[in-house]
Protein backbone atom coordinates (compact mmCIF):
# COMPACT_ATOMS: atom_id res chain seq x y z
CA UNK A 1 0.00 0.00 0.00
CA UNK A 2 1.23 3.43 -0.93
CA UNK A 3 1.68 5.70 2.11
CA UNK A 4 -0.26 8.96 1.99
CA UNK A 5 2.82 11.19 1.89
CA UNK A 6 4.39 9.39 -1.04
CA UNK A 7 3.16 10.76 -4.36
CA UNK A 8 1.16 13.42 -2.52
CA UNK A 9 2.48 16.05 -4.90
CA UNK A 10 0.55 14.32 -7.68
CA UNK A 11 -2.62 15.57 -6.07
CA UNK A 12 -1.65 19.13 -6.90
CA UNK A 13 -0.70 18.51 -10.51
CA UNK A 14 -3.74 18.81 -12.75
CA UNK A 15 -4.17 16.10 -15.37
CA UNK A 16 -5.00 17.24 -18.88
CA UNK A 17 -8.19 15.24 -19.09
CA UNK A 18 -9.20 16.56 -15.68
CA UNK A 19 -8.80 20.13 -16.92
CA UNK A 20 -10.80 19.32 -20.03
CA UNK A 21 -13.67 17.75 -18.14
CA UNK A 22 -13.72 20.39 -15.42
CA UNK A 23 -13.95 23.12 -18.03
CA UNK A 24 -16.57 21.32 -20.08
CA UNK A 25 -18.67 20.67 -17.03
CA UNK A 26 -18.40 24.19 -15.68
CA UNK A 27 -19.20 25.73 -19.06
CA UNK A 28 -22.21 23.45 -19.48
CA UNK A 29 -23.54 24.16 -16.00
CA UNK A 30 -22.93 27.88 -16.32
CA UNK A 31 -24.59 28.01 -19.73
CA UNK A 32 -27.68 26.19 -18.52
CA UNK A 33 -27.87 28.33 -15.38
CA UNK A 34 -27.35 31.60 -17.25
CA UNK A 35 -29.63 30.83 -20.16
CA UNK A 36 -32.37 28.65 -18.74
CA UNK A 37 -32.63 28.16 -15.02
CA UNK A 38 -32.06 31.61 -13.60
CA UNK A 39 -34.03 33.57 -16.23
CA UNK A 40 -36.97 31.24 -15.67
CA UNK A 41 -36.84 31.70 -11.93
CA UNK A 42 -36.41 35.44 -12.42
CA UNK A 43 -39.51 35.43 -14.59
CA UNK A 44 -41.45 33.64 -11.89
CA UNK A 45 -40.16 36.07 -9.25
CA UNK A 46 -41.12 39.05 -11.41
CA UNK A 47 -44.51 37.61 -12.19
CA UNK A 48 -45.10 36.93 -8.51
CA UNK A 49 -44.19 40.45 -7.45
CA UNK A 50 -46.33 41.81 -10.28
CA UNK A 51 -49.22 39.67 -9.10
CA UNK A 52 -48.76 40.84 -5.54
CA UNK A 53 -48.64 44.44 -6.66
CA UNK A 54 -51.64 43.82 -8.88
CA UNK A 55 -53.44 42.26 -5.93
CA UNK A 56 -52.70 45.28 -3.81
CA UNK A 57 -53.91 47.58 -6.58
CA UNK A 58 -57.02 45.48 -6.99
CA UNK A 59 -57.71 45.61 -3.28
CA UNK A 60 -57.25 49.36 -3.38
CA UNK A 61 -59.66 49.55 -6.30
CA UNK A 62 -62.18 47.40 -4.46
CA UNK A 63 -61.86 49.59 -1.39
CA UNK A 64 -62.45 52.69 -3.49
CA UNK A 65 -65.46 51.12 -5.11
CA UNK A 66 -66.83 50.11 -1.75
CA UNK A 67 -66.31 53.65 -0.47
CA UNK A 68 -68.04 55.03 -3.51
CA UNK A 69 -70.94 52.62 -3.09
CA UNK A 70 -71.21 53.52 0.56
CA UNK A 71 -71.17 57.21 -0.25
CA UNK A 72 -73.87 56.73 -2.87
CA UNK A 73 -75.92 54.63 -0.51
CA UNK A 74 -75.68 57.22 2.22
CA UNK A 75 -76.53 59.96 -0.22
CA UNK A 76 -79.53 58.04 -1.38
CA UNK A 77 -80.49 57.31 2.19
CA UNK A 78 -80.37 60.96 3.14
CA UNK A 79 -82.33 61.87 -0.01
CA UNK A 80 -84.88 59.25 0.92
CA UNK A 81 -85.04 60.64 4.44
CA UNK A 82 -85.61 64.15 3.12
CA UNK A 83 -88.19 62.86 0.71
CA UNK A 84 -89.92 60.90 3.44
CA UNK A 85 -90.08 63.90 5.71
CA UNK A 86 -91.34 65.99 2.80
CA UNK A 87 -94.03 63.42 2.06
CA UNK A 88 -94.90 63.35 5.73
CA UNK A 89 -95.15 67.14 5.80
CA UNK A 90 -97.21 67.14 2.63
CA UNK A 91 -99.49 64.51 4.06
CA UNK A 92 -99.81 66.44 7.26
CA UNK A 93 -100.55 69.62 5.34
CA UNK A 94 -103.07 67.85 3.17
CA UNK A 95 -104.68 66.28 6.20
CA UNK A 96 -105.02 69.64 7.90
CA UNK A 97 -106.31 71.02 4.64
CA UNK A 98 -108.88 68.24 4.40
CA UNK A 99 -109.81 68.75 8.01
CA UNK A 100 -110.18 72.48 7.45
CA UNK A 101 -112.25 71.82 4.34
CA UNK A 102 -114.45 69.39 6.15
CA UNK A 103 -114.81 71.77 9.02
CA UNK A 104 -115.73 74.67 6.76
CA UNK A 105 -118.15 72.48 4.83
CA UNK A 106 -119.62 71.26 8.08
CA UNK A 107 -119.88 74.80 9.27
CA UNK A 108 -121.56 75.86 6.05
CA UNK A 109 -123.90 72.91 6.28
CA UNK A 110 -124.60 73.69 9.87
CA UNK A 111 -125.26 77.33 9.00
CA UNK A 112 -127.54 76.27 6.18
CA UNK A 113 -129.36 73.84 8.40
CA UNK A 114 -129.64 76.50 11.05
CA UNK A 115 -130.87 79.01 8.46
CA UNK A 116 -133.40 76.54 7.07
CA UNK A 117 -134.59 75.76 10.52
CA UNK A 118 -134.81 79.43 11.24
CA UNK A 119 -136.77 79.98 8.09
CA UNK A 120 -139.18 77.16 8.72
CA UNK A 121 -139.58 78.33 12.29
CA UNK A 122 -140.29 81.79 11.02
CA UNK A 123 -142.79 80.57 8.45
CA UNK A 124 -144.45 78.38 11.02
CA UNK A 125 -144.49 81.30 13.34
CA UNK A 126 -146.00 83.38 10.54
CA UNK A 127 -148.57 80.71 9.90
CA UNK A 128 -149.28 80.42 13.56
CA UNK A 129 -149.53 84.15 13.72
CA UNK A 130 -151.89 84.25 10.79
CA UNK A 131 -154.09 81.48 12.12
CA UNK A 132 -153.82 82.96 15.58
CA UNK A 133 -154.85 86.31 14.12
CA UNK A 134 -157.94 84.70 12.64
CA UNK A 135 -158.80 82.67 15.68
CA UNK A 136 -158.00 85.39 18.14
CA UNK A 137 -160.09 87.76 16.03
CA UNK A 138 -163.01 85.33 16.07
CA UNK A 139 -162.58 84.55 19.74
CA UNK A 140 -162.11 88.14 20.65
CA UNK A 141 -165.10 89.15 18.57
CA UNK A 142 -167.17 86.47 20.20
CA UNK A 143 -165.84 87.39 23.57
CA UNK A 144 -166.35 91.09 22.97
CA UNK A 145 -169.77 90.44 21.59
CA UNK A 146 -170.60 88.48 24.64
CA UNK A 147 -169.05 91.06 26.90
CA UNK A 148 -170.56 94.01 25.13
CA UNK A 149 -173.74 92.20 24.48
CA UNK A 150 -173.86 93.70 21.16
CA UNK A 151 -173.44 92.01 17.90
CA UNK A 152 -171.14 93.71 15.56
CA UNK A 153 -172.76 93.03 12.27
CA UNK A 154 -170.75 95.31 10.07
CA UNK A 155 -167.80 93.49 8.65
CA UNK A 156 -165.80 96.63 8.12
CA UNK A 157 -166.12 97.69 11.68
CA UNK A 158 -165.30 94.21 12.73
CA UNK A 159 -162.07 94.17 10.68
CA UNK A 160 -160.90 97.53 11.82
CA UNK A 161 -161.57 96.61 15.38
CA UNK A 162 -159.49 93.48 15.09
CA UNK A 163 -156.62 95.29 13.44
CA UNK A 164 -156.77 97.86 16.19
CA UNK A 165 -156.59 95.16 18.74
CA UNK A 166 -153.63 93.43 17.13
CA UNK A 167 -151.76 96.68 16.77
CA UNK A 168 -152.28 97.25 20.44
CA UNK A 169 -151.00 93.77 21.21
CA UNK A 170 -147.96 94.38 19.06
CA UNK A 171 -147.35 97.66 20.73
CA UNK A 172 -147.52 95.90 24.05
CA UNK A 173 -145.09 93.28 22.77
CA UNK A 174 -142.65 95.93 21.54
CA UNK A 175 -142.92 97.87 24.72
CA UNK A 176 -141.95 94.92 26.83
Amino acid sequence: MKPLAEGGIDLFLPETYDIVWSLVILVVIAAVFYKVVLPRFQKVFDERSARIEGGIAKAEQARKEADEAKRKYEERLSTARVEASKIRDDARAEASHIIADARSRAETDAAQITANAQRSIESQQQQALVSLKGEVGTLATALAGKILGAKLEDGAVQASMIDQMIADMDGDGDGK
Partner: protein
Protein backbone atom coordinates in the same frame (compact mmCIF):
# COMPACT_ATOMS: atom_id res chain seq x y z
CA UNK B 1 -3.22 -3.91 -11.24
CA UNK B 2 -2.02 -1.60 -8.47
CA UNK B 3 -5.52 -1.13 -7.11
CA UNK B 4 -6.14 -4.84 -7.07
CA UNK B 5 -2.86 -5.43 -5.28
CA UNK B 6 -3.76 -2.89 -2.64
CA UNK B 7 -7.11 -4.54 -2.10
CA UNK B 8 -5.63 -7.99 -1.64
CA UNK B 9 -2.98 -6.66 0.67
CA UNK B 10 -5.56 -4.78 2.73
CA UNK B 11 -7.75 -7.80 3.18
CA UNK B 12 -4.84 -9.80 4.47
CA UNK B 13 -2.97 -7.40 6.68
CA UNK B 14 -5.26 -4.71 8.00
CA UNK B 15 -8.00 -2.19 7.27
CA UNK B 16 -8.24 -0.84 3.74
CA UNK B 17 -7.18 2.68 4.64
CA UNK B 18 -7.75 5.46 2.13
CA UNK B 19 -4.72 6.62 0.23
CA UNK B 20 -3.62 9.21 -2.31
CA UNK B 21 -4.73 6.81 -5.00
CA UNK B 22 -8.36 7.45 -4.05
CA UNK B 23 -7.86 10.88 -5.57
CA UNK B 24 -5.86 9.63 -8.54
CA UNK B 25 -8.03 6.77 -9.72
CA UNK B 26 -7.11 4.90 -12.89
CA UNK B 27 -8.62 6.00 -16.16
CA UNK B 28 -11.50 3.77 -17.14
CA UNK B 29 -12.65 5.27 -20.46
CA UNK B 30 -10.79 6.84 -23.38
CA UNK B 31 -7.50 6.09 -21.66
CA UNK B 32 -4.59 8.28 -22.75
CA UNK B 33 -6.72 10.87 -24.57
CA UNK B 34 -7.54 14.37 -23.30
CA UNK B 35 -11.04 13.04 -22.75
CA UNK B 36 -10.03 10.21 -20.46
CA UNK B 37 -12.56 9.52 -17.72
CA UNK B 38 -11.74 8.19 -14.30
CA UNK B 39 -13.94 7.48 -11.32
CA UNK B 40 -13.97 11.07 -10.02
CA UNK B 41 -14.79 12.49 -13.42
CA UNK B 42 -17.59 9.97 -13.75
CA UNK B 43 -18.94 11.09 -10.39
CA UNK B 44 -18.64 14.66 -11.58
CA UNK B 45 -20.54 13.94 -14.79
CA UNK B 46 -23.32 12.19 -12.93
CA UNK B 47 -23.55 15.01 -10.36
CA UNK B 48 -23.69 17.53 -13.20
CA UNK B 49 -26.46 15.62 -14.94
CA UNK B 50 -28.47 15.36 -11.73
CA UNK B 51 -27.95 19.00 -10.81
CA UNK B 52 -28.92 20.24 -14.26
CA UNK B 53 -31.89 17.90 -14.56
CA UNK B 54 -33.26 18.90 -11.19
CA UNK B 55 -32.75 22.60 -11.73
CA UNK B 56 -34.07 22.65 -15.28
CA UNK B 57 -37.15 20.62 -14.38
CA UNK B 58 -37.78 22.81 -11.36
CA UNK B 59 -37.31 25.94 -13.46
CA UNK B 60 -39.67 24.74 -16.17
CA UNK B 61 -42.31 23.70 -13.68
CA UNK B 62 -41.92 26.84 -11.57
CA UNK B 63 -45.23 28.43 -10.78
CA UNK B 64 -46.17 31.75 -9.29
CA UNK B 65 -47.60 29.93 -6.30
CA UNK B 66 -44.72 27.61 -5.40
CA UNK B 67 -44.97 24.05 -4.16
CA UNK B 68 -42.77 22.74 -1.37
CA UNK B 69 -39.83 21.77 -3.56
CA UNK B 70 -39.95 24.97 -5.55
CA UNK B 71 -40.05 26.97 -2.32
CA UNK B 72 -36.95 25.17 -1.11
CA UNK B 73 -35.06 25.86 -4.36
CA UNK B 74 -36.22 29.45 -4.33
CA UNK B 75 -35.09 29.79 -0.75
CA UNK B 76 -31.58 28.71 -1.78
CA UNK B 77 -31.54 31.01 -4.80
CA UNK B 78 -32.75 33.94 -2.73
CA UNK B 79 -30.24 33.14 -0.02
CA UNK B 80 -27.40 33.29 -2.56
CA UNK B 81 -28.74 36.45 -4.12
CA UNK B 82 -29.65 38.39 -0.98
CA UNK B 83 -27.36 37.05 1.72
CA UNK B 84 -24.22 36.57 -0.34
CA UNK B 85 -24.17 38.81 -3.40
CA UNK B 86 -26.38 41.75 -2.48
CA UNK B 87 -25.16 41.89 1.08
CA UNK B 88 -21.55 42.31 -0.05
CA UNK B 89 -21.90 44.24 -3.30
CA UNK B 90 -25.27 45.88 -3.01
CA UNK B 91 -28.05 45.30 -5.47
CA UNK B 92 -26.90 47.69 -8.19
CA UNK B 93 -23.43 46.23 -8.57
CA UNK B 94 -24.35 42.70 -7.57
CA UNK B 95 -27.06 42.03 -10.12
CA UNK B 96 -24.47 41.24 -12.81
CA UNK B 97 -22.83 38.58 -10.62
CA UNK B 98 -25.89 36.78 -9.25
CA UNK B 99 -25.86 34.09 -11.98
CA UNK B 100 -22.15 33.47 -11.56
CA UNK B 101 -22.24 33.16 -7.78
CA UNK B 102 -25.38 31.03 -7.97
CA UNK B 103 -23.69 28.70 -10.42
CA UNK B 104 -20.57 28.50 -8.27
CA UNK B 105 -22.45 27.92 -5.04
CA UNK B 106 -24.81 25.24 -6.31
CA UNK B 107 -22.16 23.41 -8.33
CA UNK B 108 -19.68 23.34 -5.48
CA UNK B 109 -22.35 22.33 -2.99
CA UNK B 110 -23.63 19.44 -5.09
CA UNK B 111 -20.12 18.31 -6.04
CA UNK B 112 -19.06 18.40 -2.39
CA UNK B 113 -22.11 16.41 -1.35
CA UNK B 114 -21.02 13.55 -3.61
CA UNK B 115 -18.48 12.74 -0.90
CA UNK B 116 -21.23 11.39 1.37
CA UNK B 117 -23.51 9.89 -1.26
CA UNK B 118 -23.29 6.09 -1.12
CA UNK B 119 -21.81 4.65 -4.30
CA UNK B 120 -20.03 7.87 -5.19
CA UNK B 121 -18.19 8.28 -1.88
CA UNK B 122 -15.89 10.92 -3.21
CA UNK B 123 -16.49 14.60 -3.68
CA UNK B 124 -16.53 15.66 -7.32
CA UNK B 125 -14.39 18.60 -6.20
CA UNK B 126 -11.74 16.24 -4.82
CA UNK B 127 -9.19 16.82 -7.56
CA UNK B 128 -7.24 20.06 -7.71
CA UNK B 129 -8.57 20.92 -11.14
CA UNK B 130 -12.21 21.48 -10.39
CA UNK B 131 -11.64 24.00 -7.56
CA UNK B 132 -8.88 25.55 -9.68
CA UNK B 133 -11.27 26.09 -12.58
CA UNK B 134 -13.78 27.72 -10.24
CA UNK B 135 -11.04 29.91 -8.81
CA UNK B 136 -9.83 30.92 -12.29
CA UNK B 137 -13.35 32.02 -13.14
CA UNK B 138 -13.35 34.26 -10.06
CA UNK B 139 -9.85 35.44 -10.94
CA UNK B 140 -10.96 36.46 -14.44
CA UNK B 141 -14.04 38.19 -13.10
CA UNK B 142 -12.22 40.38 -10.61
CA UNK B 143 -9.58 41.36 -13.15
CA UNK B 144 -12.23 42.17 -15.73
CA UNK B 145 -14.25 44.13 -13.18
CA UNK B 146 -11.17 46.12 -12.12
CA UNK B 147 -10.12 46.93 -15.66
CA UNK B 148 -13.65 47.81 -16.72
CA UNK B 149 -14.44 50.00 -13.72
CA UNK B 150 -11.10 51.76 -13.27
CA UNK B 151 -8.91 50.95 -16.28
CA UNK B 152 -5.87 48.70 -16.06
CA UNK B 153 -3.42 51.39 -14.85
CA UNK B 154 -5.50 52.87 -12.04
CA UNK B 155 -6.67 49.39 -11.04
CA UNK B 156 -3.11 48.12 -10.65
CA UNK B 157 -2.00 51.31 -8.99
CA UNK B 158 -4.80 51.12 -6.44
CA UNK B 159 -4.16 47.43 -5.78
CA UNK B 160 -0.35 47.50 -5.69
CA UNK B 161 0.20 50.91 -4.12
CA UNK B 162 -2.62 51.35 -1.64
CA UNK B 163 -3.17 54.99 -0.71
CA UNK B 164 -2.23 56.30 2.72
CA UNK B 165 0.92 54.19 3.12
CA UNK B 166 4.38 55.80 3.49
CA UNK B 167 6.41 55.03 0.35
CA UNK B 168 9.19 52.85 1.89
CA UNK B 169 6.52 50.36 2.92
CA UNK B 170 5.73 49.84 -0.76
CA UNK B 171 9.02 47.97 -1.11
CA UNK B 172 7.54 45.18 0.94
CA UNK B 173 3.87 45.79 0.33
CA UNK B 174 3.80 45.93 -3.46
CA UNK B 175 5.23 42.45 -4.12
CA UNK B 176 2.88 41.02 -1.50
CA UNK B 177 -0.05 42.79 -3.09
CA UNK B 178 0.96 41.56 -6.53
CA UNK B 179 1.32 38.04 -5.23
CA UNK B 180 -2.05 38.33 -3.55
CA UNK B 181 -3.71 39.57 -6.71
CA UNK B 182 -2.17 37.03 -9.05
CA UNK B 183 -1.57 33.90 -6.99
CA UNK B 184 -2.77 33.94 -3.42
CA UNK B 185 -6.41 34.69 -4.07
CA UNK B 186 -7.05 31.96 -6.64
CA UNK B 187 -4.78 29.45 -4.94
CA UNK B 188 -6.29 30.01 -1.51
CA UNK B 189 -9.74 29.51 -2.98
CA UNK B 190 -8.59 26.35 -4.73
CA UNK B 191 -6.64 24.78 -1.91
CA UNK B 192 -9.18 25.59 0.80
CA UNK B 193 -11.88 23.74 -1.07
CA UNK B 194 -9.68 20.93 -2.35
CA UNK B 195 -8.01 20.27 1.00
CA UNK B 196 -11.34 20.25 2.78
CA UNK B 197 -12.65 17.61 0.43
CA UNK B 198 -9.46 15.52 0.73
CA UNK B 199 -9.54 15.71 4.50
CA UNK B 200 -13.23 14.92 4.62
CA UNK B 201 -12.80 11.86 2.44
CA UNK B 202 -9.81 10.62 4.41
CA UNK B 203 -11.62 10.99 7.74
CA UNK B 204 -14.77 9.33 6.56
CA UNK B 205 -13.04 6.54 4.67
CA UNK B 206 -10.76 5.85 7.63
CA UNK B 207 -13.72 5.54 9.99
CA UNK B 208 -15.54 3.21 7.65
CA UNK B 209 -12.43 1.19 6.85
CA UNK B 210 -11.85 0.49 10.54
CA UNK B 211 -15.54 -0.29 11.02
CA UNK B 212 -15.37 -2.80 8.20
CA UNK B 213 -12.14 -4.29 9.47
CA UNK B 214 -13.18 -4.65 13.12
CA UNK B 215 -16.76 -5.80 12.66
CA UNK B 216 -16.67 -7.82 9.46
CA UNK B 217 -13.18 -8.91 8.65
CA UNK B 218 -11.72 -9.47 12.09
CA UNK B 219 -12.10 -12.95 13.54
CA UNK B 220 -11.92 -11.67 17.10
CA UNK B 221 -15.47 -10.75 18.12
CA UNK B 222 -14.25 -8.59 21.01
CA UNK B 223 -13.04 -6.13 18.40
CA UNK B 224 -16.65 -5.47 17.32
CA UNK B 225 -16.88 -2.96 20.19
CA UNK B 226 -14.26 -0.53 18.84
CA UNK B 227 -15.76 -1.28 15.45
CA UNK B 228 -19.06 0.16 16.67
CA UNK B 229 -17.27 3.24 17.93
CA UNK B 230 -15.69 3.67 14.51
CA UNK B 231 -19.14 3.34 12.94
CA UNK B 232 -20.47 6.09 15.21
CA UNK B 233 -17.48 8.16 14.13
CA UNK B 234 -18.40 7.47 10.53
CA UNK B 235 -21.97 8.64 11.14
CA UNK B 236 -20.81 11.81 12.84
CA UNK B 237 -18.32 12.58 10.09
CA UNK B 238 -20.95 11.95 7.42
CA UNK B 239 -23.14 14.61 9.02
CA UNK B 240 -20.10 16.81 9.46
CA UNK B 241 -19.19 16.42 5.78
CA UNK B 242 -22.68 17.50 4.76
CA UNK B 243 -22.18 20.60 6.84
CA UNK B 244 -18.71 21.16 5.36
CA UNK B 245 -20.11 20.73 1.85
CA UNK B 246 -22.50 23.62 2.42
CA UNK B 247 -19.98 25.66 4.38
CA UNK B 248 -17.26 25.41 1.73
CA UNK B 249 -19.70 26.32 -1.01
CA UNK B 250 -20.73 29.32 1.07
CA UNK B 251 -17.14 30.34 1.79
CA UNK B 252 -16.13 30.01 -1.86
CA UNK B 253 -19.12 32.04 -3.01
CA UNK B 254 -18.70 34.76 -0.42
CA UNK B 255 -14.94 35.12 -1.03
CA UNK B 256 -15.44 35.27 -4.80
CA UNK B 257 -18.01 38.01 -4.31
CA UNK B 258 -15.71 39.88 -1.95
CA UNK B 259 -12.75 39.66 -4.36
CA UNK B 260 -14.82 40.95 -7.26
CA UNK B 261 -16.24 43.68 -5.07
CA UNK B 262 -12.72 44.82 -4.16
CA UNK B 263 -12.05 45.58 -7.82
CA UNK B 264 -14.77 48.19 -7.78
CA UNK B 265 -14.01 51.76 -6.71
CA UNK B 266 -14.72 52.49 -3.06
CA UNK B 267 -17.36 55.08 -3.79
CA UNK B 268 -19.41 55.40 -6.90
Amino acid sequence: MGAWGTLVLAAESGPHLPSVEDFLPPEILFEGTPFAINRIILVRLIATAVLLAVMVVTAYRAKVVPGRWQSAVEWVLEFIRDNIVYQIMGELRGRRYVPMITTLFLTIFVFNLCGVIPGMNIAATATITMPLVFAIWTFCQYWIAGIREKGLGPFLKEELFPAGVPWPIYIILTPIQLLELVLIRPLSLTIRLFANMIAGHLLLATCLAFTQFYIVESADKILALPGCLWLVGGLIFTLFEMFVAALQAYVFAILSTAYINQSYPENE
